[in-house]
């Protein structure tokens, strides 16, 4: 049934390349004659590559632009500038049949399993709906069978095909959302906070399911979440976002063990560790203040208003995410350095 990616497709090759993606939402004023008075810089020059079979985690606090990034990738928003290349084709220039084909290859799992499923449709209709738009994905006669296969694949009872979403729990609904995303046999799945609405004991079940599916189907994930522990668990590489920009990107180990950007270091030290014996032993970095408004980000380095290392240069010159002397993974800080190990 769900055949793994064909052998010609090499694990590790770049499948999606995003280049300086920008999304500004205009702020308008006036009732009749609206004029633009500013812009919310939700995504402001984001570049990364997604490789076949890997999970790229995207972390950041609310308002950092991670969900807008997901919506851009799904073409639910059109970008202000920038490119994204999927299988060598420009995602944002494609239209008509080509766009439909590209979209088939990239699907999304949403955060809220309660509002992302239509309460008036049966589970079978929800999971089978993609076949209405892409009739060639499954011939009409075999759709029912394919939906049952998908239910089985995500660990739900295929007999429940005629039930409605309200008859399922939160975790089961998220499985329905995953089955719908898998219906067209995509290679990439964009997961936007897929487990943050779930209880702890259910969250682990869904994370394990996502990992199992990745192994079996050779999927690539863009995994967006605010929970750093979950992201570390599931990701091969991690991008840290702050105010619309990627401030640091690297392998799971580079980000979690050898972070050189002060924001990443502060973010990591703020995560509560479920171990009371460890609570006083870590050197905590406490950021003051809140994230500035993306409508009016600080000059130079976005993070300088909350950074304890900020110097004059940080207000003048924007640091780029390039390899740094302290560690060879890209970090957008003039003073990138490893954190001294807490003693």
């Amino acid at each position: 049934m769900t055949a793994p990616a064909s052998p010609t497709k090499v694990r590790g090759e770049t499948i999606l390349a995003v280049d300086h993606l920008v999304k500004h939402f205009p702020i308008r004023q006036g009732v009749l004659f609206q004029r633009q008075v500013g812009a919310v810089k939700a995504v402001d020059g984001v570049s990364f590559e997604l490789r076949r079979g890997e999970t790229l985690g995207v972390v950041g606090e609310s308002g950092c632009g991670k969900s807008t990034l997901a919506r851009l990738l799904m073409r639910l928003e059109s970008p202000t500038a920038g490119r994204a290349t999927l299988e060598g084709r420009d995602l944002f220039k494609a239209s008509g049949a080509e766009l439909r084909r590209l979209r088939r290859n990239m699907q999304m799992v949403m955060q809220d399993p309660y509002t992302s499923l239509n309460p008036r449709m049966t589970v079978g209709d929800i999971i089978g709906e993609p076949f209405e738009i892409h009739p060639d994905a499954a011939p009409k006669g075999s759709r029912q069978r394919r939906v049952r296969e998908l239910l089985d694949l995500v660990g739900l009872n295929p007999e429940h095909i005629n039930r409605y979403p309200h008859q399922f729990s939160g975790g089961q609904r998220q499985r329905i959302g995953i089955a719908r995303a898998l219906a067209l046999r995509p290679e990439i799945i964009v997961c936007d906070e897929p487990v943050s609405a779930l209880d702890v004991s259910i969250q682990a079940q869904v994370i394990n399911l996502l990992e199992k599916l990745q192994d079996e189907l050779g999927l690539s994930y863009v995994f967006i979440a605010h929970d750093l522990s979950v992201v570390r668990h599931i990701s091969d590489r991690v991008a840290v976002m702050y105010l619309g920009k990627i401030v640091e990107i690297g392998t799971e180990d580079e980000i979690y063990e050898r972070a050189t950007h002060p924001y990443t270091q502060a973010l990591l030290s703020a995560v509560p560790v479920p171990d009371p014996d460890a609570r006083d032993q870590r050197g905590m970095i406490r950021l003051t203040g809140d994230v500035p408004s993306p409508a009016d980000p600080p000059s130079g380095c976005n993070f300088r208003t909350r950074c304890w290392k900020a110097q004059e240069v940080c207000a003048i010159q924007e640091p780029h995410a390039v390899p740094r002397a302290a560690d060879p993974h890209p970090s957008a800080c003039h003073f990138a350095e490893l954190r001294p190990t807490p003693t």
Binding site: E61, S62, S169, G171, Q172, D199, V200, S201, I202, Q203, A204, Q205, I207, N208, E211, H226, L228, S229, V230, R232, H233, I234, Y256, A266, L267, L268, A270, V271, P272, V273, P274, D275, P276, D277, A278, R279, M284, R286, L287, T288, D290, V291
Partner: protein
């Protein structure tokens, strides 16, 4: 920060060896059109002056309903308090007439909620809202109340407090709104602060700021705190003792160090194993199979038995009583010793 803002309450106003707050065998059910949901099934816990008790549980475990019963803000109907006592300084709150209950609510026991935006009134300035109780209940003049509001806002570290009295809730960030709520709760110098998921809606860096603030306030003001949360990480950072709830019961009760080191109830053990850890790398996450029970049809015997790897026939037949394990630890499991020994390994 102005220390005079709130007088430290004397450490032990508790009568003859009793607890500051003592819940005894509380039973609450919700009567709905579809049937009776048994939401709280015999909850007992206590709180002493100056300590922090964490009540941990997943959605539907009854942790918030218990807190609402203590505050006397449960909607009755549909909720019905079947039996039990809530003793505050020796007096049973459930027996007090509403007029006296009001004297306790806010003044002796205050509460902060998860969602500060919906708990604040959007059409009044925050200064006015924080001062409302002072004017209404302490009979303070407008000018006095205003001075005290500025003190309270300083206390919760809202920058430039005097200039922000006239701002409305939407002009504050999420973290600052939560501080406004805390200032409001502290206005009457409560002896007990109930914090119901105070940081769940906040980002991790802001969460850390708020948890630090709560810990400092509790120490400086000698308040006792009940922290209601689902987050095992947050609990580990601040709590003295933990009560773990499942299906309206407390299944395990222990001091925070021994609980994390060796949980003695299979549910607690499962929870601790199922969270991904920042500091520990593992392969597959352990899971708790199945789902939390429907409170209208709680399983017989031990309510956790359908999901429990330790379950035997006795668990289906007999409701386990709290097994005392020493050091004030209890676990409502027939195999508590075994579970704890397994965990300690």
């Amino acid at each position: 920060m102005s220390q005079s803002a709130v007088r430290p309450t004397p450490a032990s106003p508790t009568p003859e060896g009793g607890h500051l707050l003592d819940l005894r065998d509380l039973h609450i059910e919700f009567r709905t059109g579809e049937g009776v949901a048994r939401v709280i099934n015999g909850v007992s816990y206590h709180l002493d002056p100056g300590e922090t008790l964490a009540v941990l549980g997943e959605s539907g475990s009854g942790k918030s309903v218990t807190a609402q019963a203590i505050m006397g803000i449960l909607d009755t109907p549909p909720a019905v308090i079947r039996s039990g006592q809530i003793l505050f300084q020796g007096r049973d709150l459930l027996k007090l007439p509403e007029e006296q209950r009001r004297q306790v609510r806010g003044k002796e026991i205050a509460m902060i909620f998860q969602d500060a935006l919906s708990a604040l009134n959007p059409v009044f300035p925050v200064g006015w809202q924080i001062g409302e109780t002072l004017r209404q209940r302490e009979g303070m003049s407008k000018a006095d109340a205003r001075r005290r509001v500025v003190e309270l806002m300083d206390l919760v570290r809202i920058p430039a407090a005097a200039n922000r009295l006239g701002d409305y809730p939407h002009q504050f960030s999420g973290g600052m709104r939560q501080r406004v709520m805390i200032a409001m709760a502290l206005a009457m110098n409560p002896k007990v602060l109930i914090a119901d998921e105070p940081t769940t809606a906040l980002d991790v860096t802001v969460q850390a700021q708020i948890m630090d603030l709560l810990a400092d306030l509790r120490r400086d003001l000698q308040m006792a705190m009940i922290l209601i949360t689902h987050d095992l990480g947050v609990v580990a950072g601040v709590a003295d003792r933990i009560a773990v709830m499942y299906a309206g019961r407390i299944v395990e009760h222990a001091d925070v160090h021994s609980l994390y080191r060796a949980p003695a109830h299979p549910y607690t053990k499962g929870l601790l194993e199922s969270i991904p850890r920042l500091d520990v790398r593992g392969q597959e996450l352990a899971t708790i199979r199945g789902l939390p029970p429907n409170l209208m049809r709680i399983p017989s015997g031990c309510p956790f038995h359908p999901r429990c790897p330790y379950a035997q026939q006795v668990c289906v037949d007999v409701v386990p009583h709290d097994l005392v394990l020493g050091d004030g630890r209890t676990s409502a499991c027939h195999f508590a010793q075994e579970v704890r020994d397994d965990s300690a390994r």
